[in-house]
């Protein structure tokens, strides 16, 4: 039901994102999704990768502060109204969204939205009940 997202702290140094990508690339780890939240002091990378445990240990051994976070991956066929529908369901359920980001998949022009929600189990249950499709780790990171 959940998928694991990699969360990585990076300082605002030039080239630090490149280091991150090179490190994963060197370890043969693929990135399915990537989002960066940044402030004037630091950035927070959120990524969906092909091998969580390997990525985590590789990063931690190479001077990155990183962890895995459970998120929900929601498939919305028709991006804007599909997203609006999901948001409406979550709002009615009284959930608060910590953050979300999206990526497109070329295969069937499917948009995937990644949600970090305060009560993920309950939120997932509600979404499933409402007929929303949640993707598994295998479906996302391939």
């Amino acid at each position: 039901m959940f998928i694991q997202q990699l969360s990585v702290y990076i300082e605002n140094h030039q080239g630090r994102l490149a280091d991150f990508c090179a490190l994963l690339g060197g370890g043969g780890i693929d990135l399915s999704a990537l989002s960066i939240a940044d402030t004037s002091n630091f950035g927070l990378i959120r990524a969906i990768v092909s091998d969580n445990d390997k990525a985590l240990s590789l990063l931690q051994q190479n001077g990155f502060a990183a962890s895995l976070t459970p998120v929900l991956a929601v498939s919305v066929a028709d991006a804007p109204s599909g997203l609006a529908n999901v948001l409406q369901i979550l709002r009615e359920g009284g959930f608060s969204i910590e953050y979300l980001y999206s990526f497109m998949r070329r295969i069937n022009h499917e948009a995937i939205i990644l949600f970090r929600i305060d009560k993920p189990e309950e939120a997932a249950g509600l979404l499933l009940k409402k007929g929303i499709r949640l993707l598994s780790q295998e479906e996302i990171a391939r």
């Binding site: 702290y9 990076i10 300082e11 402030t39 002091n41 990155f64 502060a65 962890s67």
Partner: protein, 435 residues
């Protein structure tokens, strides 16, 4: 100009007789009233009567800053609570400050020696002294205040900060002398220059600057910018506060230590062995007239040397050279003593934070800046920007609370702070403080 000519120009043999008398009385006092000293003397098989000459001081135990921490707050006081009328404090090496207690008589002596210091700068009852040192637990403000008042000067207790207001008062009240940290003096000077202020509007002619190390280069700059003569004052809270030693305007080379109240030694910082006059080592001070908190052989960790040659001014009290550095990792930032270990104590136990940090000190437009870099643990406990900002805030506050200074905080990636021989480097001081 002398505040107390008979004492300031006392013959060395008379001075030394007085010193011995006072040293003996102080040793008696601490032996009777301070368990720590009694125990340490007993360990060495000493009784107060064993001090027969000034050279016997070398038999006495040292006092370290850690003793002030361990005996916090009142353990080293040699006078009953009823006789202590003032408390001051300075940074300790961990979370707690170190405190000093003063009796009425201690405050009178302090005012007397600061009045002598002002005399060294030719400042007296005809002057208006603007005290721009911080007032409060810090000894700078009240120390200069009491001394200037004792000297009969008109005191303007403006405290530090608010440069615009400083300048307004300086002009309107006709301040003739300024007492503050040298970096603050420089800041005032630069703001004058930047606003094209005509120095003729000021009556300022003397500056008494201390509480942090400074260089001859800085003196030149301050003198030029403010159109004054700038002199160096030395002291530390543990032994009194500012006024332990002062540069005279005639010599402008070395600071006269008021040897009727303080005994000085210069020791090899490694071995603790005494060094001959002229050689640079650690300054060790014994107070010989304090009642509230007398200290025997206090290790200041300040590096200097003794100038034994007579001074052109006629004072017989020996001089110490302008400070050469420190034997420990203490920093002085905006006049505040900072020990890296204080930062360590502050961040210890905050989740997600490694006990690895670096203090980056710089001076930007004459204002000391402190950036503290703290390493995150490899296991990031958060995935939200807000949580990391809260952590940043929490760490910053914890540090600011202990240091009493505003800091810029940077959470840095694990293992990014440079290590040398397994020990991390804790300080990067980019300022140029010593000649």
């Amino acid at each position: 100009m002398f505040w107390n000519k008979p004492v300031e120009t006392m013959k060395r043999e008379d001075l030394e007789r007085l010193q011995l008398e006072r040293l003996q009385a102080t040793v008696q006092r601490v032996y009777q009233n301070v368990p720590l000293y009694r125990e340490r003397m007993q360990e060495k098989g000493l009784v107060p009567e064993d001090v027969k000459t000034l050279a016997d001081i070398q038999k006495l135990p040292f006092t370290q800053k850690t003793d002030l921490r361990d005996e916090y707050p009142y353990g080293l006081f040699a006078a009953p609570r009823e006789e202590i009328v003032r408390i001051h404090a300075s940074s300790g090496t961990t979370g707690k400050p170190i405190v000093a207690g003063y009796t009425q008589n201690d405050l009178l002596i302090w005012a007397e020696i600061v009045a002598r210091c002002l005399g060294c700068a030719e400042v007296d009852y005809r002057d208006t002294v603007q005290v721009a040192y911080g007032y409060g637990l810090f000894t700078g403000g009240l120390g200069l205040h009491d001394g200037a008042q004792r000297a009969g000067a008109q005191v303007v207790p403006v405290s530090s900060g608010n440069t615009k207001r400083q300048l307004m008062l300086m002009e309107d009240l006709g301040s003739t002398a300024l007492a503050c940290t040298p970096s603050y003096a420089l800041m005032i000077g630069e703001s004058l220059r930047d606003s094209n202020f005509d120095l003729k509007r000021l009556k300022l002619r003397k500056g008494i600057f201390g509480a942090e190390p400074w260089t001859e280069g800085m003196r030149d700059q301050i003198e030029q910018l403010l159109g004054i003569q700038a002199l160096d004052i030395y002291g530390l809270t543990e032994t009194m506060g500012p006024g332990v030693a002062m540069e005279c305007i005639e010599g402008r080379s070395g600071l006269h230590v008021w040897e009727d109240h303080f005994l000085i030694e210069i020791l090899d910082p490694e071995s603790g062995a005494p060094l001959p006059d002229g050689e640079t080592g650690e300054l060790v001070i014994s107070t010989i007239s304090k009642d509230g908190m007398p200290l025997l052989r206090y290790r200041t960790h300040d590096l200097t040397s003794i100038i034994a040659e007579p001074c052109v001014c006629g004072r017989t009290h020996r001089r110490i050279r302008r400070l050469r550095g420190r034997t420990d990792d203490m920093l002085i930032i905006r006049g505040v003593n900072v020990f890296p270990s204080q930062v360590e104590a502050a961040i210890m136990g905050i989740p997600g934070i490694a006990p690895r940090y670096l203090l980056v000190v710089d001076r930007v437009n004459n204002l000391d800046t402190l950036e503290v870099q703290v390493e995150l643990m490899p296991n990031l406990p958060f995935d939200e920007v807000r949580q990391i900002e809260q952590l940043e805030e929490r760490v910053r506050r914890a540090i600011e609370q202990v240091l009493n200074l505003s800091v810029r905080l940077r959470l840095v990636e694990p293992n990014s702070i440079e290590r040398s021989e397994g020990k991390s480097k804790r300080v990067l001081d980019k300022r140029n403080l010593f000649d």
